[in-house]
Amino acid sequence: MILLIPLAVVLAGLVSIVVLAIGYGGEDVALLLGKALALLSILSVVVLSLTWVERKALARIQQRMGPMRVGPYGLLQPIADGLKLLIKEDIMPAWVDRPIYWMAPLAVFVPSFMVWLTMPFSSSLVLRDMELGLLYVLAMSVLSIIGLIMAGWGSANKYGVIGGLRSAAQLISYEIPLIVIAITIAMMAGTLNLTEIATGQGNTWYVLMQPLALVIFLLAGLAEVGRSPFDIFQAESEVVGGPFIEYSGAHWSIFFLGEYINTFLVAALITIFFLGGWSGPLLPEVAWFLIKCYIVILVMFWLRGTMPRLRIDQLMAFGWQGLVPLSFLNFLMVAFAMFYGWPDWVQTVLSLTMLITASTFLYLKTASKKVRPTVRLIPAREVRRA
């Protein structure tokens, strides 16, 4: 139903007002609402641009041109797509669990939107600069799991249920390394305030000290938003979209919106945690922030264009046997370094050593546990003779 969009906006607005009001008390409600709506529109524009960038980047990898018809270089394609989704017939199967089916897109979208209340775009451009911003972001981003399970269950579809349960398993497993790395960063920065984490890095970005943490965070983040190669809960060729299987039109577009906002969130968190946030010469802070975010996102698209999908057991093994212990090791390393006051370069060396060891181990484990498979070639002449 087309009504769902305003409903989502209203809900998101209400929730954000509540959050803001708790912190402020006594600010103008109309102003708060205006801010929330402005944030929503900014995010929508970001999502629209992301879809365009993704299609163009993938097209580039695949030697295609991507969208070229609507507007110059297909720039207006996302708008055309959005309109199409809105005016598309919204099919609801007769046997769905209606309340759950209806709530699910909101349960995915609203938390992913609310996270952004405290995400800084620059040192001054932030809706509500919370002291416990990091905690709030992590808490909110976990909520969307419920929405995915609701969607899978409410659709009354077997693929939906499989997808929903897959998403629960996957998201909870990868939440752990994500949070541990976030704690590590908070320890190094000495604050949970996102703005201070970003500005506190100065010129020594944390990526220089923690390359391992960046890799873990990127991989866990990819799994968290269900992007390739960890897109098993919506695997097109297996569970045909998973939780989203029965959704179409406006319902689906809400999921879509939430998903891309989450993708952008992961990129933004990586930028803030590891890439010095908005620091950079000449250009305004917001520009630097967006440039870094888009570079991270392009890396995600690049992975998507080149990687097949893991299987559920391999995914869980990779999470629990790989990322979780590594993230704890990294955490310990930082703890020791801070306790004994080791210089920064020691952390860099240790982190790089661990990264190289881990990737070598992973490579050896997968590639040469057995012999590299080959094909035997039997000349036709020999067979003819025999």
Binding site: L58, I61, Q62, E238, V375, I378, P379, R381, V383
Partner: protein
Amino acid sequence: MVNMGPQHPSTHGVFRMVLWVDGERIVDAEPHIGYLHRGSEKLCEGELYPQIITLFDRLDYLANYNMELAFCATVEKIMGITVPDRAEYIRVILCELNRISSHMLFYGTMGLDAGAMTPIMYGFRERERIQNLFEAVSGARMMHNYFRIGGLREDPPDDFAERVAGILPALAQGIEEGDKLLTYNEVFLARSRGIGVLSGQEALDYGLSGPSLRASGIPDDIRVIEPYSVYDRFDFDIPVGNNGDTWDRYAMRVEEMRQSLRIVEQALEQMPDDGPIKAAGVRAIPRPPEGEVYFRIETPRGEMGVYLVSDGGDKPYRLKVRPPSFANLQALRPMLRGVYIADAVMILGSLDIVLGEVDR
């Protein structure tokens, strides 16, 4: 119990299978075929011999030339027609190119089944070169209706040899690029190795043929063991797998594309520049003598056999098709027991079925 198909993106057509699952594991699987049944064999009994060629085009719609060859060669065998050399070479070139284009589609869909979306674009880029050539030769991109009993419908374009030679380097490069992109990708290896293993004996027992059989280590290629057309004049290798798993079945096809290129190159060299393209003395509507004949060729999917019973009339008395995909599909059920749902998609993909010939 999960119902996979007939409307599922990775069942490659309208194949349906019912999976009994325990969590993510498959306990048992039951394939249901027949959604694309058109009664082709029965239709053949009501058509004149030249008209049947169009029906065969629609069996394996990814390897149309091979299908046409299977039928034409069968009738030629029962009638004892010798096809002129030039026509045979053109047939071989077209069939081998068709094999490459079919395997290219397999390569792409295998990538899709594994969750990678780029291979199919690479595959289709190469297919496009071949399809353009086919279009120039026969006027159609898929349902060519180009082979005739005793030869070809008409001469290919004057620059046929140059055009074929022109796309070969590009194809070779495309195959290498595709090989680099997917074959040894760590994730792809993890997904395909040791999955859906069939031993050589099992493969034989289930009646597998073609690349799916050779992946299990049996060098069985009808082009070699029972040469038809002019295949005994070419020098090429038969790729054979070591483990009979999904990766081997995939790698067979990639390697076969290279071998097909070799065959095309040799055929271009040996092809006479001019000469008849149709055997003399074959009537427009042939009437094969009374009798029966079985003839088989190696299509991209395996052994395509045609059993023809003629009562001396202008229509076959009975025509039975032994399609490769149908036989290959029989091995699906035992392979699916005990694997993950995601593996089921890979295993089905690795058998490379075309529902047009499974259901006929």
